[in-house]
């Protein structure tokens, strides 16, 4: 079995196509040149033939009531323009009576019909030849009637002339074809040079290097391809980064609570039955509960980061997100009895985003307000100019400025803060905002402190 051929290079394909076109053109031009040459040769030699036949017809005279041809050498010198060709001539009187001719035994007669000068083709001693018939009419006292002259010649000179004319026409064409081919090659090489550069760049590239490829001076088609590739690599880079963050966050966030749980557990074991043991068990319970929340948040953040990268952007009404949060009743667990209000308008507040991620962000905002804020807490969605806003407001003064400055970063768990801090929650909000080209806004208003996720509003109906 033959080994499959390696696929052709782009340059080879284009060059092959150009070659094919040139060859087809060459065949067409050759055909046309051959036809032209044949016609020219036919016309030229037909005139010679006719001239010779007329010469011979002119030489016929009537002598004593009999036509006699005083064969002119000039006619044969005319025919000798085709020096290599065999000749036929015959002169016939009325009723095909032989007057003179090259060979009385070789009779070639014109096809029936049509008087006067007529060309025809026939075999002359088994070689194709062309003939002309000229009829001269006599009306003398002692002779009247037509005298028919047939002159013919084989086709060597015609063929040679056809070939000459064709070659004359084809040489420049062949040269032009060659020049075109060289030019096509140069053009193809030039056009494909950027592709070669990219190929070389990709071949050289470290497999872990996910930085974008420069698309600066590339042709537009390639920019599209490279742009897509760069976007893909960017996303891959983001995923890798997110995974790395998740691992490092998890390690960072879990180490302290797990150590604390171990200490509490050891305390409880060391003093069984005592009051201290009882306190330690209480703390152990609180610690594990808080650890569960932390784990939830870490996973939720990882999920959000993943989804913002991969989930399709769909039209989402922010009012629905707020409503869903209200109805989820998580807040009843966090802060039972807190007054929670929903403030939404009549009109939809549309964005293009992932509903799940938005829900997580809103949940975290609300969670923060319930945990750290002052009731009553309100959640709402509104549209302001080109912005669609999902916000949570409490009646308190908001966090202290030192905490404000750190908000949103992943590692804001200083020694002094509690495990169930705002840290990871707000970083989720920040990630969602960044993923959907929005921002997080923290403002102190008359009614209290408001934390808002501001996203670009989707066009109506879009």
């Amino acid at each position: 079995m033959a080994e499959p051929r390696p696929p052709l290079t782009l340059a080879a394909r284009v060059l092959g196509a150009v070659l094919l076109i040139l060859l087809l053109g060459g065949v067409l031009v050759s055909g046309s040149a051959w036809l032209n040459g044949q016609q020219a040769a036919r016309q030229a030699y037909d005139r010679i033939l006719l001239g010779a036949a007329n010469d011979i017809a002119e030489s016929v005279r009537i002598q004593a009531g009999t036509p006699i041809a005083d064969l002119p050498v000039s006619a044969f010198q005319l025919l000798a323009q085709a020096p290599e060709d065999r000749i036929y001539y015959a002169v016939h009187g009325p009723g095909q009576v032989f007057i003179t001719g090259v060979d009385p035994q070789t009779e070639i007669h014109a096809p029936e019909g049509g008087g006067g000068a007529g060309y025809f083709e026939a075999l002359l001693n088994d070689e194709p030849a062309r003939f002309v018939r000229v009829t001269r009419r006599f009306a003398e006292r002692d002779f009247s009637g037509p005298v028919e002259v047939v002159v013919g010649q084989t086709l060597r000179a015609r063929r040679a002339m056809t070939a000459d004319l064709m070659l004359d026409a084809l040489w420049p064409m062949a040269a032009a074809g060659l020049v075109l081919l060289v030019m096509a090659w140069v053009v193809i090489r030039t056009a494909l040079r950027p592709l070669d550069a990219i190929t070389a760049d990709l071949a050289r590239r470290d497999p872990y290097d996910l930085t974008p490829i420069a698309t600066g001076r590339l042709p537009r088609e390639l920019q599209v391809v490279l742009g897509a590739m760069n976007r893909f690599m960017g996303r891959l880079d983001g995923q890798v980064e997110a995974m790395r963050n998740l691992i490092s966050d998890t390690a960072h966030q879990l180490r302290t609570p797990v150590a604390a749980i171990r200490v509490q557990a050891e305390t409880a074991i060391a003093e069984p039955g005592g009051d201290a043991s009882r306190r330690a068990l209480d703390r152990l319970l609180a610690r594990t509960r808080s650890l569960g929340t932390l784990l939830d948040q870490l996973l939720s953040r990882a999920l959000v980061v993943h989804r913002t990268d991969s989930a399709p952007r769909l039209p989402v009404d922010l009012r629905e997100v707020a409503l869903e949060i209200m109805e989820r009743d998580d807040h009843a667990l966090l802060a039972p009895g807190t007054d929670l209000r929903l403030e939404i308008g009549e009109d939809p507040v549309m964005v293009r985003a992932d509903a799940f991620s938005l829900g997580e962000a809103a949940g975290n905002l609300l969670g923060n307000a319930l945990r750290h804020g002052t009731p009553p807490v309100a959640i709402g969605a509104e549209r302001r100019g080109g912005d669609a806003i999902l916000w949570v407001r409490d009646a308190g003064p908001g966090p202290v400025p030192a905490v404000m400055a750190q908000l949103g970063s992943r590692f804001n768990r200083s020694a002094g803060t509690q495990e169930n801090s705002t840290g990871i929650g707000l970083s989720i909000v920040a990630s969602v905002a960044a993923a959907f080209r929005g921002r997080v806004e923290m403002t102190q208003e008359e009614e209290g402190f408001r934390a808002a996720l501001v996203l670009p509003a989707a066009q109506e109906g879009a």
Binding site: G65, T66, P67, I68, A69, D70, L71, V73, F76, Q77, L79, A80, P83, E84, D85, R86, I87, Y89, V91, G93, V97, I99, T100, V102, D103, P104, Q105, T106, L124, N125, D126, E127
Partner: protein, 346 residues
């Protein structure tokens, strides 16, 4: 019309009778491969060339048949038409007949450097080649004609005929063109070449010139002194007649040059050997032998310095077909006999 019919009838009755009429047969070599050459050339003249060729090709058993030109033509034409085995090669001085045969597709083409080196006038379609160079000359008797009286051109001959009709009466000889194919060919070529032809015929008629058939007879007549001058004699015959009394003149106005034509019949059995013979005949060695035999005349070296422009080869070309045309032949013969008949009168 009736006259032409008659002519054809006579030809038709004569040709079959002449068909088996080779004059002599000679053999060269005794190899296993038979090779038949038909020629109009006297065997005695061409013998050294054929012997040398037979030496070079010992595998051949060469049969050299010597024919009269008309009989040879009839035989070759019949072979070509009927398809009976022809000769392996034909060499004839009646070049118009050879042109006719080639024109009738009776010849086999051959290409070789030697053949292609021939000038166009001595080659046609690579099927017919002129292998010799033989001028048509004026011969005279050296003893009886003063150096000053020797005509160097046709004009001089015409003037001499006018000036001294008494001297030349009955003592000018030329071919009878009705009887001699070669004479006819020369007369035909003369009639194309110049207007002197008509004047010359009239001049000949006035002095009762003798039109006779054969080269040998004419040359012998000049040698014996029966004729003072003979017009249009093939130079090679003079060279071979070994008659010291006979002088030769290449006419300065123009000299016709004949090349015997060589042809390989289309159905020849030994085409390769025939091609070898052609190449041999054209080789310098054979040309030298032919020159010794008088069949190749280096015209520039002849006793009369002849300008190159005066050299008129009879070209191997289809225009020679005119020479064979029955009407044309009839007209020329009529002109000939009218002139001779009216002027001279027996």
């Amino acid at each position: 019309m009736m006259r032409i019919r008659h002519l054809l009838l006579i030809l038709a009755t004569l040709l079959p009778a002449a068909a088996a009429a080779q004059e002599a047969t000679h053999r060269y070599g005794s190899g296993p491969v038979p090779f038949l050459l038909r020629s109009t050339t006297d065997n005695s003249i061409i013998q050294p060339v054929m012997e040398r060729f037979a030496e070079r090709h010992p595998q051949l058993a060469i049969t050299y048949e010597q024919w009269g030109s008309n009989a040879l033509f009839a035989q070759s034409r019949a072979d070509c038409r009927v398809g009976s085995p022809p000769a392996d090669a034909v060499l004839s001085s009646a070049v118009q007949q050879m042109v006719w045969l080639v024109n009738a597709a009776c010849a086999h083409p051959h290409r070789s450097p030697a053949a292609l080196a021939l000038p166009p006038s001595r080659r046609w379609r690579n099927e017919l080649w002129g292998v010799t160079t033989e001028p048509a000359v004026i011969v005279y008797n050296k003893q009886m004609l003063d150096g000053a009286d020797v005509p160097r051109s046709r004009f001089a001959l015409l003037d001499a005929l006018r000036a001294k009709p008494g001297l030349y009466r009955g003592r000018i000889a030329t071919y009878d063109i009705a009887a001699s194919g070669l004479g006819y060919l020369f007369a035909y070529s003369d009639s194309l070449e110049a207007t002197t032809f008509g004047a010359l015929l009239e001049g000949f008629a006035r002095v009762d010139a003798v039109a006779t058939c054969c080269s040998a007879e004419i040359i012998a007549g000049v040698a014996e002194g029966r004729f003072l001058i003979a017009y249009n004699v093939l130079g090679s015959y003079v060279a071979n007649a070994s008659a010291p009394e006979v002088g030769t003149i290449l006419p300065e106005d123009y000299t016709l040059v004949l090349s015997r034509a060589y042809m390989i019949p289309a159905e020849a059995r030994q085409k390769a050997a025939a091609a070898d013979l052609l190449d041999f005949l054209l080789s310098p060695e054979a040309q030298e032998l032919l020159a010794e035999a008088g069949l190749v005349t280096e015209i520039a070296a002849a006793d009369s310095g002849l300008a190159p422009s005066a050299r008129r080869s009879i070209p191997l070309a289809p225009s020679l077909l005119v020479a064979l045309d029955p009407n044309r032949r009839a007209l020329l013969l009529k002109f000939w006999s009218d002139t001779f008949g009216s002027g001279g009168g027996p």
